[in-house]
């Protein structure tokens, strides 16, 4: 774990002091404001009840469940191949990445290994869904701060990535392409070259965003020093992905654990930022898209030949046992704890989704900030409602 730097300690203490001042000095009657469940800034149906003193937030309490679909219950009556359809819809912007940890966990229990070609293609698609997901964040963050133009660029360029995902899987949003033991199909002809072109577009997009959004003085004024998460607090709340790396914790499952994908054979870099504020989270995600382009590019070069499907039984019964597999998904760590009793259906699946933990810090984080910063902090934490509510 990274040591907390002095500057951040001071910022943390200052935040706490500001917090205390709000509570004792201003004795005006507060106002309770319901942000959501239908509100332009909540990407779905998150509702946040904030107690305001003027423009300052005294207490914030997220309320969710408006989209709870009971996936953990449903998985108990679905066969393993059917479950990928469900988990596709957890983080709906990076669907393919949702399937991967589940399939890997089932493969670990079955002691099956996907052929190398399948693993490389999985990695490429995994990172493409990261690009499709995070590119939208890069534009959307601008919208939350009032700049409406970047998000149109994001939608435009994400389309090219979605086209590539669709070309392989047949599904733009919900590929449902991963199988226990490999993949449904091989790559279509000409896909690799087309994808290279798309990666160039995305790199250009990243340069644009770095210039237009991250480089904008107003954007920086709105995000620097706002929503600072010290590393230790972030860890105890279980933040993951760019949110925790922006607090200076150098921990990326793609590099630091044996996920079952081929990231460790590739040459790329894990970016961190020491500040832990909204800007740092934006900046880290921006770099991660670039790294994802690098990873996909190397995957395209290195995909070995061979089958894409290992020999697995036609009717999949997973042997009894328990396994927990997590991967570094676009939103952060996503893991599945599978308890199997050797049947067609799992006995219990605990879905550990990234946004649930990421948003659980908000009551702590939103104390004492201004109303406009509530929005920018929420945007910078980057959650998907399906990923919170499951």
């Amino acid at each position: 774990m990274t040591a907390t730097t002095d500057a951040r300690k001071l910022a943390y203490i200052a935040g706490q002091a500001a917090d205390a001042r709000v509570n004792v000095e201003l004795e005006t009657e507060g106002m309770t404001l319901n942000i959501g469940p239908q509100h332009p800034a909540t990407h779905g149906t998150l509702r946040i009840i904030v107690r305001l003193d003027g423009e300052r937030v005294i207490a914030a309490e997220p309320v969710m469940g408006y989209m709870h679909r009971g996936y953990e219950k449903l998985t108990e009556v679905r066969t393993y191949p059917q479950i990928t359809t469900l988990v596709n819809r957890i983080d709906w912007l990076g669907s393919f990445a949702n399937e991967v940890p589940f399939i890997l966990a089932a493969e670990r229990l079955m002691e099956v290994e996907a052929p190398p070609r399948a693993q490389w293609i999985r990695t490429a698609l995994f990172e493409l869904s990261r690009i499709a997901n995070v590119v939208l964040f890069l534009g959307d963050m601008g919208v939350q701060l009032g700049a409406i133009t970047p998000v149109f660029f994001a939608f435009r360029d994400r389309e090219f990535v979605l086209n590539q995902i669709e070309a392989v899987t047949g599904g733009r949003f919900h590929p449902n392409f991963d199988r226990i033991g490999g993949l449904k199909d091989d790559l279509p002809k000409g896909w690799i070259d087309e994808t290279r072109g798309v990666l160039d577009r995305i790199r250009t997009f990243c340069d644009e965003m770095e210039d237009l959004v991250a480089g904008n003085e107003i954007f920086q004024a709105r995000t620097r020093g706002i929503g600072v998460i010290p590393a230790d607090v972030g860890l105890s709340y279980g933040l993951s992905g760019a949110n925790i790396r922006a607090s200076g914790v150098d921990w990326d499952l793609r590099r630091d654990s044996e996920m079952g994908l081929v990231h460790r054979e590739l040459d790329w870099k894990v970016w961190t930022h020491p500040d832990g504020d909204s800007f740092a989270r934006y900046w880290v995600r921006l770099q991660e898209v670039r790294e994802a382009c690098t990873i996909v590019g190397q995957c395209l070069d290195g995909i070995p030949s061979g089958p894409v499907m290992a020999k697995v039984p036609r009717i999949i019964k997973v042997p009894a046992g328990e396994a927990y597999v997590e991967t570094e998904n676009p939103l952060g760590i996503m893991g599945y704890y599978i308890v199997s009793k050797g049947e067609l259906v799992p006995y219990r699946v605990k879905i550990r989704s990234a946004s649930f933990n990421n948003v659980s810090i908000t009551p702590w984080l939103l104390k004492g900030v201004y109303v406009p910063d509530v929005i920018s902090i929420l945007a910078s934490l980057y959650f998907i409602l399906g990923d919170i509510d499951r």
Partner: protein, 345 residues
């Protein structure tokens, strides 16, 4: 307009109705032009999309469709709203817009009223909209509206000051508060002995022009100063509860005011209806003057909307800081410098 009308010996009611019709056109035509040109088209092109394309050639009739849409919509008033104030608020905002247009000259003889305190009157009536916004926010009985209205009030009052102070430089240089006089001063003036293009004050008062534009941006509640209507947090601030016709009035008010502030900026800093090289007393300007002015309005409005579509928004405290700690001191320095130079030369 005075001479033209007098020449025809029109009765008072005839003059008044002509003025009313021309005034309405002077408010609505620029507003419509700006909406189509900038909101529909320029914004779309900046965002790599086409914008409206179906209604008429290049979507030029889209505006009528939009107006028709708003007119058809149900007029909803929240249950707990203060109905009278709620209904009155859009009119109060529009009143300020219509009063503003009165002082802007369109040619040597073409103006609604010729008052010696023209610019003073304009800046005074522009503040009326604050009351309308506060009424709208309060009467909506919505927390978002209230927050938005309070932010808007704080912001409009803060940016009123740099707006007025930026104009002071022009007034000192022109030596008059009369709008026509300011145009004439620019048409007949010369810069350090060179009078070929007159003396558009944007050259000598560039700092004033910049401050004026920034303050106008804030007065219009447009990004980067759109915190009162910040759609990602306050939904649309004081407009949240408005729908149909009343929303349309706010909308027209917003774009008409954008047009009129552009016209003010064009008149104060770009020479108004005057084109260099011609005799400003030529009656030809009564014909081409409004068109010249409109061209300059579109130029200034381009700048205003360019900022609008490009920048993220300041937080409330940041924009107050900008007004009080940057813009006001700068404009005071500008006034002092202008005064000193005026005395020296």
């Amino acid at each position: 307009m005075n001479t033209l009308i007098l020449a025809a010996e029109l009765a008072y009611w005839q003059q008044t109705s002509i003025r009313a019709v021309v005034g309405l056109a002077a408010v609505l035509l620029p507003a419509g032009t700006l909406v189509y040109l900038f909101l529909f088209k320029m914004m779309s092109f900046m965002q790599s999309r086409l914008g409206p394309m179906e209604a008429g050639p290049y979507g030029s009739m889209q505006l009528l469709a939009e107006v028709g849409k708003f007119l058809q919509k149900e007029d909803i008033i929240p249950a707990k709203a203060d109905r009278v104030v709620f209904k009155a608020a859009p009119y109060v905002v529009l009143v300020s817009t219509f009063l503003l247009v009165l002082v802007i000259p369109g040619g040597p003889d073409l103006m609604f009223i010729d008052v010696d305190t023209g610019i003073f009157l304009a800046l005074a009536v522009s503040s009326i909209s604050v009351i309308g916004i506060l009424m709208a926010g309060w009467a909506s009985a919505s927390k978002y509206s209230l927050l938005g209205a309070l932010r808007a009030t704080g912001q409009l009052i803060a940016y009123e000051l740099p707006l007025v102070l930026a104009v002071m430089g022009v007034v000192i240089q022109a030596g008059t508060l009369n709008m026509q006089g300011i145009v004439m001063a620019q048409a007949q003036g010369e810069i350090f002995g060179f009078g070929g293009i007159g003396s558009p004050f944007i050259i000598t008062q560039f700092l004033g022009f910049a401050i004026f534009l920034v303050a106008v941006q804030a007065e219009l509640i447009q990004p980067p100063f759109d915190m009162p209507v910040a759609e990602s947090e306050l939904v649309t601030g004081y407009l949240t509860e408005y729908s149909g016709m009343r929303f349309l009035m706010f909308f027209i008010g917003e774009f008409a005011t954008a047009g009129i502030f552009s016209a003010l900026a064009a008149t104060l800093f770009l020479g108004g209806w005057y084109v260099p090289g011609l005799d400003p007393t030529d009656t030809l300007f009564n014909v081409i003057g409004p068109m010249v002015l409109m061209g300059k309005v579109i130029l200034v409005a381009f700048l205003i909307f360019w900022f609008r579509f490009t920048f993220p928004r300041f937080r409330e405290d940041q924009l107050q800081t900008l007004a009080w700690k940057v813009l006001i001191p700068l404009s005071l320095i500008n006034i002092v410098a202008t005064g000193v130079l005026k005395v020296v030369f």
